[in-house]
Amino acid sequence: MTNSTKNQNNQTVILIEHAEAVKQYEKKPDIEIWAAFNRGDEKAFNYIYRFHATAMFEFGIQITNDIGVVQDCIQNIFIYLRRKRGELKEVHSIKAYLFKSLQREIIRKLNKIKSNESKNIDSFEDSFQIELSHETKLIQLEIETEKTLLIEDALNKLTTRQRQAILLLYKEGMSYKEIAEVLEFSEVKSARKLIYRALDSIKSIIETKMFGSHK
């Protein structure tokens, strides 16, 4: 009992610390936060962890069901980054950088476990499944559940990479530039093309399903 109380107090203190860090850094651009972290500023690190750990976890479990692997990979990335402080390169989007690192790390780890060689996210066929939440807006627009299910179905027939790009664009609110970084494209226009092609293949469903009942 003594031990659990001690842990609780520690947790309390960590949560306070992280809330402090958010207050100090939330309005600052990523490049500045990253530079502060690189200089050894612990508050900048707390902020980065507080702001991105949860999203990284959510993103990571889309690749694998193994929660332990995701947790280990997140941990290893931050341990690595802390060790490299002082010599880190400039980062413009911390989120894109961390997502890219996490995806790489998870795939590397899974390959080690299963001893197969799959570098490409497209070989993870079940990863990045999309769900259309049926609440709020779609209901207000009188779009019925079965129609949203059809759209959802069409989205889930896309390639893993296309689904991933769509989730990064809409769910994570990333720019094409950031998506290109996560997907390790050398050019931003590749990310654009990926989205265009994905939307192209579902546009007939979206158009008829969204407007069918209003004609």
Binding site: V13, E20, K23, I61, Q129, L132, K171, G173, I206
Partner: protein
């Protein structure tokens, strides 16, 4: 292509449009609201595109638990300490984990102290025994009983009925932490160390001040400040500062607001003032049960909109019930610890 030629898939791939839907700011809001008012015929298309963007989420829905969040963080920090320790000396593994844990605790507390502008980092870095063995005292009041507790450093705590407080026999050198369930009034002795009250995932952080904390039976938590300054953090990272005469109410559903408060109504209980201020029957029942340690039963129906207002100072249960009877016409019967109120 111009926006007025856009079809739904064009909106769905337009970065500037998506940005407005996902993270609206002054710039994009201004642009799109103006554009929409000039192109009303596009409203339906725009709404549909926005609805799709907003509805898309991961099918696999698993959140990082607080525990994993903290554990992972601690592992990361522990790692760079263990790295340096390993270089310095080859010590047994359990020792260096223990040692580095202490350093983490120390560095975090130092962070807090700096924020407060205090410099009492005195002897906290020597004996490892400090953080390892903390024994706690728990004080619990049943319904019908209130108590006053004076802590070793001089802080006075009034603990209301049906409440519990837990604190270490001896506080650490760097902070004073207590855990509260229910309601208590604190007169914190200022001594340089922050005083932290934890209740239901809310953290109240103070230095030399007096304030009331109440976790109600509905799950709301309110903090009313009489003097000094307090800071409240919740588990979502929200933070609120209170000035004297302000009260923060945190609803069970996560919403919160600041308000003024009537000191007699909110903290009169510690001086034996039982106050009803336009209370519903349910609230009156709860207050009486808590105050006198009895059970209140209702026979008959309460008119919708019925409330009761009244103030009593150190009164017997009978006198309070007489007072309620006088204004409301209710009858009551006391049978040992059970009160039956009838509305006819």
């Amino acid at each position: 292509m111009k926006y007025n030629e856009y079809k739904i898939q064009h909106f769905l791939s337009d970065e500037f449009f998506i940005q407005w839907v996902v993270s609206p700011d002054d710039d994009n809001k201004h642009f799109w609201e103006k554009w929409l008012s000039e192109h009303p015929e596009k409203r339906k298309t725009v709404q549909s595109a926005a609805a799709i963007i907003k509805a898309i989420r991961y099918k696999k829905n698993l959140e990082l638990s607080d525990k994993t969040y903290i554990d992972t963080f601690e592992n990361i920090i522990k790692h760079d300490h263990s790295e340096t320790d390993r270089l310095q000396k080859k010590s047994s593994s359990s020792w260096y984990i223990f040692f580095s844990m202490r350093k983490i605790a120390a560095s975090i507390f130092i962070g807090l102290i700096c924020w407060l502008g205090y410099s009492v980092i005195s002897k906290s870095t020597e004996e490892p025994a400090l953080t390892s063995e903390i024994s706690y005292t728990t004080k619990k009041n049943p319904f019908g009983k209130k108590s006053m507790i004076t802590l070793s450093e001089g802080t006075v705590i009034y603990l209301n009925a049906g409440s519990e407080i837990k604190y270490p026999r001896e506080f650490s050198d760097s902070s004073r932490n207590v855990t509260l369930t229910g309601e208590a009034f604190f007169e914190v002795k200022k001594d340089g160390r922050p005083f932290i009250v934890k209740t239901d995932n809310k953290i109240i952080h103070v230095l030399g001040t007096s304030f009331n904390v109440n976790q109600s039976y509905t799950g709301d938590v309110s903090v009313a400040l009489v003097s000094g300054k307090v800071r409240i953090n919740d588990e979502l990272g929200n933070q609120v500062l209170l000035d004297p005469k302000e009260m923060l109410v945190m609803k069970a559903d996560g919403g919160f607001y600041k308000t003024e408060f009537d000191p007699l109504e909110i903290i009169g209980w510690k001086d034996k003032h039982l106050i009803f201020n336009r209370n519903t029957f349910e609230e009156v029942k709860m207050k009486i049960e808590k105050w006198y340690g009895v059970e209140v039963k209702l026979k008959g129906k309460i008119k919708p909109g019925w409330t009761y207002t009244g103030a009593y100072e150190n009164e017997t249960l009978e006198n309070v019930l007489e007072g309620i009877k006088l204004t409301s016409g209710f009858n009551y019967k006391i049978n040992n610890k059970t009160i039956t109120i009838s509305t006819y």
